[in-house]
Structure formats: structure tokens, C-alpha cells
């Protein structure tokens, strides 16, 4: 009997973050249960509440779950996990900006993206082992995410509670063999081969400390990905490497690969990966595949312009932040004297899907065969800035184009920042002849 009470006392003390001595809690619990005769459960909750704690922290009965077994839409989930990655972000919510923590949690079974909505005072760093109680799960674009809301309780555990899965000396989780096109947000513990297309060091400040991160692009036959190496692995353009470990974060659908000293990076002396020159060609992609992946680095698309959207042509930008000005000025800086610029927001459709393609000033000038200054003159003469958009619509709608650039995604779908564009010329006769011959061979 005594030991059982002790367990309950420990539960309460723990829920209160060891702020209140056990003796005091034991006395209170005795009082509630034996003098006032409330149920044990109610007593425990009341005591935690009385001391300013969160009663939800008492829910220790439910077993910890494996990340890979999580389902979408679970209301209460307990995890024993490690922070694979965490960063602070400011998001816009109904009543203004809110700071959140987002990142990846991992255990032996897998990894999962998470968002902590009560980030104040919460300081999570890569490698921390956490006991998470009362989290919930949601589906985001077909993938499960763990959310830590107001009811969630997060307690730090000693690192040895959970052996590190990615540590090469003690590999506990199975490595997942993937190609670059497979990379998706929240993946960790990868086994991947690729060739470095470009890399350069960059000085960054992480939690007050100066660090050098090596950023670049890694490619294989399936595609390419931006990477950040948090240690000098001696990577150069052309290096072929075998990576074990690492993790993937997506920024607006664009996967970004990170690895550090806990990952094993082996430079391959001899490899069968495609050469640097071959990989430097941006691979041709279909929009339906990009929609499934959420984005891609440096791809080539062939499609037809099916619309030129509002906000194309002559626009005014804020001199401070380069945002496009609305009628009432800049969203951040209010009334400012706008700077003229040119751009196109076109819808490019390849028959498998559609995306918004943004052409900057240089490309727009090249497409129009006119400079910004000439466009300003045209608009003044017509006394209407829309003439430039009309001219672009006339020029581009129904035009087959080949465009190259990075593709990202948000709630409105896919978007490409176009780096290169050219009018598409296809030898239709030749392709039709080939298809016809094939048809006659295999009717």
C-alpha cells in the first residue's frame, strides 16, 4: 500500500517538474484521499492544478508509441523520442504573429515532422531526448505530423534513455536506401549515393555560436537536392559520396538534405554515378510527379502557357523589402515610393498538371523584346499600365515553352522561379512518324 502511494506521489512531483517536495505532496494526497474521500484520480489532478501544473502531465498510463505506427488524427499520443532537428519559426495566425518550434522527431522506428505551438520557454536542441505526452497527430498533404498543443507535456530525459539511432558507432535503426527523387520531408537515417554538383562554405550563427556549414547541390540519375553539411567532409564539386544518416526538411515543398558529424560520409574513389557534365543537365520532369514530390531543385519542364495571371507586366515594388505593392502600399512599410519592375506570372501546363511560373525582369524583357524603360513609355502613352500585361498575354498564351528552375509548393499549388526559358520547337513530324511506326508494329 505504501509503495503504491509512493508511486502516485512521484507521478505528481514529476508532473510538477520536481518543483514541490515529495513530503508535501504525500501529505496533500493523504488529505485528499483519506480525509476528503475524493477518488485517487481526482485527487492527483487537483493537486497538480493547485500547484500550477498541467494535469495532462499525469497521463503516464498510456504506453509510448513507435513513430512508424502513428496514425493520422490521433487525439493523444505519447512518445519517447529524440529531436532530430528543431528550429524556431514565426507564423501568421489570426491574432498576429506567433512563434512556433518546428522540426523532426525520431526514434528507432522512424522519423516524423513536428510542430510545437507553445514555443515560449521551450528550448529544444538537436539530440535532446524527450518524453512527449498528449501530443496529437494530423495529416498534412498525405503525411502524418505530430503537433504539440496546449495540452502537451514535454519532459527532457537523460540521453541514455534512448540510444541514438543515427550514430554510426551504434547503429540501431535500419538505414533506408533511397534515391534523391525519393527524398521527402521528415525522412531520416538515409543511405544515399550522389555526386556533389556544387558546394561552398558559409558562416552561420547557431544558438550564439559561429559555425561553418557547407551548402551545395547533390545529384544522382533521379534528380538533385540542396544539402547542408554541418562538418567539413572535404566535399568538392564532382565528389561522389555515400551518405549514411542525415535527415530531410522541406521548405515550401523543396526537400533539403542535412547531415553532420553523426552521419557517415564516405567519399567514393570509384563510382558508377553519372558524370558531372551529364548531371549538370537539368532533368526533364512532369508536373504530376512534381506535385507528388512537392518540389524539386533545378528541373526542366516542357509545357504550354495557358494563362498569364494578374500581377504580370509592370509592377511596383517596395524599395525596402522588394515586396510587390498593393493599392494601399507595402504590407510592411506602408506608403512608399514604388520602384518599377517587370515580371510574368504565367500558368504553364504540360498536360499532366499545371504550375505558376514566375519570370523575372530579365527574362520578361527578353520575351517581350523590350526593356523596362520601353514598357514604361508604352504604359504612359496608353495611359494604362495593363497594356504590358495584355502584350504578354498576347505573346505567351498558347505558346509552347521549355522552362528551367526550382519548383516549390504551397497551398496554391506548385510554383517555379524560372531561371531559363526558351520557345519550344519540337520536330512533330518525326515524333508522329515514330509513334505511328510503333503503332503499326504493335497494334
Amino acid at each position: 500500500m505504501a509503495t503504491e502511494t509512493e508511486t502516485h506521489v512521484k507521478d505528481i512531483v514529476k508532473a510538477l517538474g520536481n518543483r514541490v517536495p515529495e513530503t508535501e505532496i504525500a501529505r496533500e494526497l493523504e488529505n485528499y484521499v483519506n480525509v476528503y474521500r475524493v477518488t485517487l484520480d481526482t485527487a492527483k489532478k487537483s493537486i497538480v492544478k493547485k500547484h500550477g501544473g498541467n494535469p495532462a502531465a499525469l497521463v503516464t498510463a498510456a504506453a509510448n508509441r513507435s513513430i512508424k505506427d502513428l496514425q493520422t488524427g490521433e487525439a493523444s499520443v505519447n512518445l519517447l523520442c529524440r529531436v532530430v532537428y528543431a528550429e524556431r519559426r514565426t507564423v501568421n495566425v489570426q491574432d498576429g504573429a506567433k512563434e512556433i518550434l518546428t522540426g523532426i522527431l525520431g526514434d528507432d522506428s522512424g522519423t516524423v515532422p513536428f510542430t510545437a505551438w507553445e514555443a515560449e520557454g521551450l528550448d529544444l536542441a538537436k539530440g535532446d531526448v524527450l518524453r512527449v505526452q498528449n501530443a496529437y497527430t494530423k495529416d498534412y498533404k498525405g503525411k502524418i505530423e505530430v503537433h504539440l498543443g496546449t495540452r502537451a507535456v514535454i519532459t527532457r530525459e537523460p540521453p541514455e534513455t534512448l540510444p541514438f539511432p543515427g550514430k554510426s558507432s551504434t547503429p540501431s535503426g535500419p538505414l533506408k536506401a533511397v534515391t534523391i527523387a525519393d527524398l521527402k520531408d521528415g525522412m531520416g537515417n538515409l543511405s544515399l549515393r550522389g555526386r556533389v554538383l556544387q558546394v561552398e562554405p558559409k558562416e552561420v550563427t547557431v544558438e550564439g555560436a559561429k559555425k561553418t556549414v557547407f551548402q551545395g547541390v547533390l545529384a544522382d540519375a533521379s534528380g538533385r537536392v540542396q544539402f547542408s553539411a554541418w562538418k567539413d567532409f572535404g566535399l568538392r564539386a564532382g565528389t561522389a559520396l555515400q551518405l549514411e544518416g542525415g535527415y530531410v526538411r522541406s521548405y515550401r515543398g523543396l526537400p533539403q538534405l542535412s547531415f553532420d558529424d553523426r552521419s557517415k560520409v564516405q567519399v567514393l574513389a570509384d563510382d558508377d554515378l553519372p558524370g558531372l557534365e551529364q548531371l549538370a543537365q537539368a532533368p526533364r520532369a512532369w508536373i504530376e510527379d512534381l506535385a507528388e514530390r512537392g518540389g524539386a531543385v533545378d528541373v526542366t519542364l516542357r509545357g504550354i502557357v495557358v494563362d498569364v495571371k494578374e500581377g504580370s507586366g509592370l509592377i511596383q515594388r517596395c524599395p525596402e523589402c522588394r515586396r510587390v505593392l498593393a493599392k494601399e502600399g507595402c504590407r510592411l512599410h506602408g506608403t512608399v515610393k514604388g520602384q518599377s519592375d517587370l515580371r510574368v506570372k504565367a500558368v504553364v501546363d504540360d498536360g499532366s498538371g499545371a504550375l505558376t511560373a514566375i519570370f523575372g525582369r530579365e527574362l520578361t524583357e527578353a520575351l517581350l523584346g523590350k526593356t523596362l524603360e520601353q514598357c514604361l513609355t508604352d504604359a504612359r502613352e496608353a495611359m494604362n499600365a495593363e497594356v504590358v500585361r495584355d502584350a504578354l498575354t498576347d505573346l505567351l498564351v498558347a505558346q509552347p515553352l521549355e522552362v528551367r528552375g526550382n519548383v516549390t509548393s504551397d497551398d496554391y499549388g506548385l510554383m517555379m522561379m524560372v531561371e531559363e526559358a526558351r520557345v519550344l520547337r519540337v520536330d512533330v513530324q518525326e515524333e508522329a512518324r515514330a509513334m505511328l511506326a510503333e503503332l503499326e508494329e504493335h497494334p
Binding site: V397, A398, P400, M435, L436
Partner: protein, 286 residues
């Protein structure tokens, strides 16, 4: 919400569609025209020759009807006051001219229950032959890919979205094929195989010339068919609103004109300006 893709299709496949679907709920739920091969078409990119334009409305409230032909059939475009840009462009177009049209696929059901499909243009542009040929090549590629998956799906005992997807297509394509099988059954694929070959031959000059030489003999309407149709129309048009297409087909069959002979005769009369379609699905003498 992401933008609906513009399907590259041949008129022949689109015009076979008899079914529309709405996915999701609410005013903005997208609707689709479902073809027998499982294309779920919300938006379509049409490229072909505009053969005639007519204002079915008034000068103040125009409703333009345009006919665009590709190597496999005719597209019907309708643009009115709710498509001001496209309607203005269609009203100004001078047939014959090559157009590329991006628009929404629509169905129209007659009182008798017959379903007709048409396109409500969003964007309309005069293009050159090379650009049209590129679009037709894309339509051929799309049809070829769809035919292969549909053929494989027909081999399955009971095609489900999962089993069709496993044949190597997207979830959306698999869904369309399963729905098409439920709606139309297993259709005769040789018809679409022939359509594909027809579309491709059109793109290859030496094939096109060879076909045109044959076509002059075989496909010209027989003399007298056009007069027969005019007579039938006179008899069927009881209320001055024209004859329903279904009734015309039935009457023509009785008079010894099969569907293709009737279609050729009607095309000829439309081109000659002897008849017109006051509303979709009705034919009237002028």
C-alpha cells in the same frame, strides 16, 4: 487549391463522353466530363481549325457558338457574357483560322435525356500550323498512354483504384478509369486505336496526302443524301425549333442513311449554310 490541368484530347474521344462528375461539395467543387477511356476532364486545350462562328444571342448579349475541327471530329465552343474576353475573341475570329483554345469542359442534357459535351473557352488564340500540330501530338501521346493503361485495366477481373494504379499510373488516372468502366463498361478500344492512328497520320505529310487521295472517293457524301436530310428535317421540325438530333438519326436510318452517311451529309449542309444548330442537339433548315 491547385489549378486543374488542361487535358490534351482529340474531339473524337471527348464527344463520346456522356457523363459528368462533381468531386467534393460546395459551390466551387470542380465538375468533370468523364470520357469512355477515363479522362476526367475539367479543363481542356483544344487546337484545330475554326470552321464557323455564329451569334446565337443578341448584339447586346451575344452567345457565340464556334466549331473547331481536329482530325478526329468537331469541338463545340460556347462563349457568352460570362466569358467576356473569350467571347469577344471568338466573335472577332474569321473562319477558317487555326485556334488554340483553353476552356472548361461542359455537358448539356436535353429534355429527352441526350447528353452533349461542349467547351466554354477561357482563353482563345490564333496560332500557326506548327503550334496546332504540337498540341495534336500531345493529344496523341495522351491517348496512347491512356489506351495502354485502359487495355491493361480491362484485363483485370475487377479493376479497382488500387489495382489500376499498380499498372503504372497516377491515383487520379486510376480513379477515372475505374469510374469509366462503371459508367460505360468495357468499350471497343479498336475505335480509339484507329482514332490515334488517324490523329498521327494527320501530322505526317506523306500519310496525309495518301489519305486525302482516298478520301475524295470514299468519304464524299453520296449525291442525294443531302437532299434526303433536308426533306427529313422539314418533316421533323414540327414547332419551328428544329429537329432533335436523335429523331433525325432514327428517321435517317429508316430512310437508309447510316450514322456516318448522315453525319457527312449534315457536315456538308452546315458548310453550305443550308442548315444550322439553333441549340445544341437540334438541327434546323435555314
Amino acid at each position: 487549391m491547385s489549378r486543374e490541368v488542361a487535358w490534351r484530347l482529340f474531339a473524337g474521344e471527348f464527344n463520346d463522353a456522356r457523363k459528368s462528375l462533381t468531386e467534393g461539395t460546395g459551390d466551387r467543387a470542380p465538375t468533370f466530363v468523364l470520357t469512355p477511356l477515363g479522362a476526367k476532364v475539367n479543363r481542356v486545350l483544344v487546337s484545330g481549325v475554326l470552321t464557323d462562328v455564329e451569334n446565337l444571342g443578341t448584339d447586346a448579349e451575344p452567345m457565340y457558338r464556334g466549331r473547331v475541327s481536329d482530325p478526329t471530329g468537331t469541338w463545340h465552343l460556347y462563349a457568352g457574357q460570362y466569358q467576356p474576353i473569350a467571347a469577344a475573341a471568338l466573335g472577332k475570329a474569321q473562319p477558317p483560322t487555326i485556334l488554340t483554345v483553353i476552356g472548361k469542359a461542359k455537358t448539356f442534357t436535353t429534355d429527352q435525356g441526350a447528353v452533349y459535351v461542349s467547351v466554354r473557352p477561357e482563353r482563345l488564340k490564333t496560332v500557326d500550323g506548327a503550334s496546332r500540330d504540337f498540341s495534336l501530338l500531345e493529344a496523341a501521346r495522351s491517348l496512347k498512354r491512356r489506351l495502354a493503361i485502359v487495355r491493361a485495366a480491362y484485363g483485370l477481373e475487377t479493376p479497382t483504384p488500387e489495382t489500376v494504379r499498380a499498372l503504372g499510373c497516377t491515383a487520379a488516372a486510376a480513379d477515372g478509369i475505374v469510374k469509366a468502366v462503371a459508367e460505360y463498361g468495357k468499350v471497343d478500344l479498336s475505335r480509339y486505336q484507329a482514332m490515334l492512328a488517324e490523329g498521327l497520320r494527320y501530322l505526317v505529310p506523306e500519310e496525309r496526302e495518301a489519305r486525302e487521295a482516298v478520301a475524295v472517293d470514299a468519304e464524299a457524301p453520296k449525291a442525294g443524301d443531302d437532299d434526303k436530310v433536308l426533306t427529313l428535317l422539314g418533316g421533323l421540325d414540327r414547332d419551328g425549333k428544329g429537329a432533335a438530333w436523335d429523331e433525325l438519326v432514327a428517321a435517317a436510318a429508316k430512310g437508309g442513311l447510316d450514322a456516318s452517311a448522315l453525319e457527312q451529309a449534315v457536315d456538308l449542309l452546315l458548310d453550305r449554310g443550308a442548315i444550322y444548330e439553333p441549340v445544341l442537339g437540334r438541327i434546323k433548315r435555314i
